[in-house]
Symmetry: C2
Subunit: 83 residues, 2 copies
DNA sequence: AAATTTCATGATCCATAGATCATAATGTCA
DNA sequence: TGACATTATGATCTATGGATCATGAAATTT
């Protein structure tokens, strides 16, 4: 399960997926990340040009991290394409 | 070379490193990414809470992508710690 | 060392992110 | 179906990101 991300939308998808995997509601995630539920909703749906700080706050709460890497030579599919 | 990132600062470092690796000046990167040189400077130095869109614009120009993953069990070192 | 290039910083302006509150829409389940 | 939980949306307000221009500080080159 590799979650490649090349757009804010991809990040939103990754977050939603991770949150669901941990069986958390947006509200719960909001509480432990310090980010509002409303904001999380918008981020997951790509409805706002989120700030880095916010994403990382959410990532921390979900125990996620990011790895920056050169674009995979072969597949050019972005995370969103998988869904 | 694993570029783990858990903070906006880590992203800045990763960008600077990738840019240098490609032997680009901030100005050149600015041109091909559509992001201002001044902004790139601030991002690389972690002087602004950059928006996701901006980071991805820069990533695209540097042919970078992101992989979202669970936090590495063993090492807890963030990208910044390597430097 | 002087000139040139590269990078940093400071100010202004406009757009928008996120906090916050209220509420609507959707989903779930007894 | 009706109640309750979850998610989405909409408005307002404040703070700040990024465009833009100007210029200062560093680094590099000749």
């Amino acid at each position: 399960m590799k979650n490649l991300a090349r757009t804010p939308n991809d990040i939103g998808h990754a977050i939603r997926q991770a949150r669901k995997a941990k069986k958390l509601t947006q509200k719960e995630l909001a509480e432990r990340s310090g980010v509002w539920q409303e904001t999380i909703s918008k981020v997951e749906n790509g409805l706002s040009d989120t700030k880095l700080e916010t994403v990382f706050d959410i990532f921390a709460a979900l125990d996620l991290e990011i790895q920056v890497q050169g674009r995979s030579k072969g597949s050019s599919e972005s995370f969103a394409d998988i869904f």
